[in-house]
């Protein structure tokens, strides 16, 4: 393996380690939200897209119907579709390889392969990052879930505050644009106004309507869809 290629794999493993570790917090928050250890682990195994997983357990923890948790998770999952549209011509995979690649199509694997010079390097960056995040994220989820269950009442350890912090950390890299800051503030305000008025789960879904409205109203401004770069990923090179 050339230096270039082993460097790509090393970066992928580093991102996998950094990202995978915070699977511990997902596992702990999952059981704190009222899911069983098995349900929490299944989310990491099968859903495998961090923001959607946190959203699902967050809505359930707030007392929302599981189905509104699912709807929020799906809305957040739509950004993976955009990554896929960008990655498909770069990766050029078909058949079972494409089906397998789809499962590990997430922020990190996209970020670590979108800027590679050749198809071989893009594939290597995608596969090494996707696989290492998958393995470590699932191991860490299981550890966090079992540990969280042993610890008992999550409020004693401030785990309920950890959920808000986790969402803020996921949101943070997207706040570098003024228009996104405005949308974020309006969405948060709309959600808070709706909390006493609607069933749990709806305030967050209504915030999705803010995104829809803002996207339509800002027609004409140039704001190309952003795909995360290596600098946006924990453990990536800055």
């Amino acid at each position: 393996m050339t230096d270039e290629r082993s460097g790509i794999v090393r970066d992928g493993l580093a991102v996998g380690l950094a990202t995978g570790l915070y699977g511990v917090s997902f596992g702990a928050i999952g059981v704190a939200s009222g899911l069983s250890v098995l349900q929490t682990c299944v989310l990491s195994l099968l859903m495998f897209t961090g923001a959607s997983q946190f959203a699902f357990v967050g809505v359930v923890a707030a007392g929302g119907a599981p189905v509104s948790g699912a709807a929020t998770a799906l809305l957040l999952g739509t950004r993976n579709t955009l990554y896929g549209l960008r990655m498909a011509p770069l990766l050029g995979w078909r058949g079972w390889r494409r089906a397998a690649a789809a499962h590990v199509l997430i922020d990190e694997s996209t970020a670590m392969s979108v800027n590679r010079g050749t198809r071989a390097e893009a594939r290597l960056g995608f596969a090494s990052t996707g696989l290492s995040v998958f393995v470590l994220w699932n191991l860490a989820t299981a550890i966090g879930a079992v540990g969280g269950q042993i610890l008992g009442d999550p409020r004693t350890y401030g785990l309920d505050a950890a959920v808000g912090a986790a969402f803020l950390a996921l949101l943070w890299p997207r706040l570098d644009v003024r228009s996104n800051q405005v949308v974020g503030l309006v969405a948060a305000a709309v959600a808070l106004v709706l909390v006493p008025l609607t069933a749990a789960g709806w305030p967050v879904l209504a915030a999705g309507g803010v995104a829809l409205l803002a996207g339509v109203l800002t027609r004409g401004t140039t704001d190309p869809t952003e795909v995360p770069g290596p600098g946006d990923v924990a453990g990536g090179h800055h």
């Binding site: 923001a51 943070w172 974020g184 948060a188 909390v195 995104a211």
Partner: protein, 98 residues
């Protein structure tokens, strides 16, 4: 609960596979792209607000706000994810214990 979990899992996978399978022009409309870009921003911001300032149907300011304040400072200092999350939990737990 299981039904919602499995539906969401299947749906999230379908969204990923669709991205790798559909021709790129499907979502090429600028409004669609912008909305898709703003959805994570709006949802994550709303999730922060609801998680930190609501308890059931009530709005409430408690120890979680202190945890969030820590998170903001940690993020401004470019702290890693785990430090942000665990630190926020520790601060909230500390405030509660006082």
């Amino acid at each position: 609960m299981w039904t919602a979990i499995l539906l969401a899992c299947v749906g999230c996978y379908a969204l990923k596979l669709a991205g790798l399978s559909l021709p790129a022009r499907v979502l090429a409309h600028p409004v669609v792209e912008r909305v898709a870009d703003l959805i994570p921003v709006a949802l994550l911001a709303a999730l922060v607000a609801v998680q930190v300032w609501s308890t059931g149907p009530d709005l409430e300011v408690d120890a979680r706000t202190a945890g969030l304040a820590f998170a903001v400072v940690a993020l401004l200092l470019r702290a890693p994810f785990l430090v942000v999350v665990i630190g926020a939990a520790a601060v909230a737990a500390l405030v509660r214990a006082l």
